[in-house]
């Protein structure tokens, strides 16, 4: 059995011992690999599970992916509680500390720039769903003819299309309103209902980078927008570590 190091996040200003109560995979302690002013947060992993041979298989196992994803997020959150944090993509793995340090040195300036962009800011998510179950149409009278029936069907379809367009227009307006208190915003792909378990149609999935001093304002805006539209469900989620905004400008 050989070991590797799983890299969760790169941080700046992480106090000594801040992560002593947090563990990585299989109860392994978290370790810091330093490169100048940056700290890489890693934990030891077994390459029989996280190595090149095993990963393609394990990544097909949604239960394994869920466990790794949740652990990854827990550790990233713990780092972000104590320091500026740039989260890494899932399963970024090195052979040893030298490997981590080499990579950190190589992209040091880009990581510093990425951390600069998210310092003092948090990521918030806003999902907007079209509320299902609009009042059912009054029962139609029995049509005198098939033509009248078809006409009614066409009108219903047109009404649905119009309603869809209105809802999408509202989602765009909402995104613009939310962006007011942010320094950056991204529209994410709508989630597949089979994974999210939500039946309602997701009409907007936005990520917002909000300065901490404007977080209250941002939340109030989201709440106001939600309460002004009873036909929509507006869900605010956050703060997240800056997954969607701590990005490298170059390679």
């Amino acid at each position: 059995m050989s070991g590797g190091l799983y890299l969760f996040a790169v941080s700046r200003g992480l106090p000594e011992g801040a992560l002593s109560a947090v563990t990585g995979f299989d109860g392994e302690h978290l370790r810091l690999v330093r490169s100048g002013d940056l700290q890489a947060v890693v934990c030891a992993v077994d390459l029989a599970e996280f190595g090149e041979a095993a990963l393609p298989r394990n990544l097909e196992d949604l239960r394994w992916v869920e466990h790794v994803a949740r652990t990854h997020d827990e550790v990233v959150r713990a780092v972000a509680r104590h320091a500026e944090a740039a989260p890494m993509r899932l399963v970024t793995i090195y052979a040893d500390e030298d490997g981590v340090r080499r990579q950190l040195d190589r992209v040091h300036d880009d990581l510093v720039a990425a951390l600069d962009r998210v310092t003092g800011r948090s990521e918030w998510g806003v999902k907007v769903y079209a509320r299902p179950g609009e009042p059912p149409a009054a029962p139609a009278p029995r049509e005198a003819s098939g033509a009248a029936y078809l006409q009614r069907k066409r009108e219903a379809a047109q009404a649905r299309r119009t309603a869809d367009e209105q809802v999408e227009h509202v989602a765009r307006a909402l995104h613009e309103a939310l962006s007011g208190a942010t320094v950056a915003a991204r529209v994410l792909a709508p989630q597949d209902p089979r994974l999210s378990g939500r039946h309602e149609r997701m009409i907007h999935n936005g990520a917002y980078l909000v300065p901490e001093e404007r977080a209250d304002e941002f939340q109030a805006t989201a709440t106001l927008l939600g309460s002004s539209r009873p036909d929509l469900i507006v869900e605010l989620q956050g703060p997240w570590p800056p997954y969607s905004f701590a990005v490298l400008e170059t390679g």
Partner: protein, 116 residues
């Protein structure tokens, strides 16, 4: 369709911000976690060369949830079995067609179709 959500327009899951960021437990929804840890986050080369292609593939698969039905049920992901949205959507047109023809037959016996 069931709607188990809270009846308010907005459901804020964040703590008041004066309690400090990230002190809240992570969301329970796997989609919310995967959307970020699998799809976002910084990509830098690791020593273990698996990442990108496999993860791109996986992301697509998870988005489409192309896990075997057995595995999905084992994980409790089986709600779509009884969800008309999923079972019926593809059949919508066919059903509507059938329905239309049936209605025409009922309404205008013997008169043939005046519109199709």
């Amino acid at each position: 369709m069931t709607d188990a959500q809270t009846p308010v327009g907005t459901r804020a899951s964040g703590l008041p911000t004066n309690q400090g960021p990230y002190s809240r437990p992570q969301p329970a929804n796997l989609a919310d976690i995967l959307e970020r840890v699998l799809d976002k986050g910084i990509i830098i080369a690791g020593d273990i060369r698996v990442n990108l292609l496999d993860i791109e593939l996986l992301t697509v698969k998870i988005r489409l949830l192309v896990v075997s039905v057995d595995k999905a049920q084992e994980m409790g992901i089986d709600w779509w079995r009884n969800d008309p949205m999923f079972n019926a959507r593809a059949e919508d047109l066919a059903n509507e067609n059938r329905e239309l023809k049936q209605r025409l037959k009922e309404l205008e016996p013997g008169s043939g179709t005046e519109e199709d």
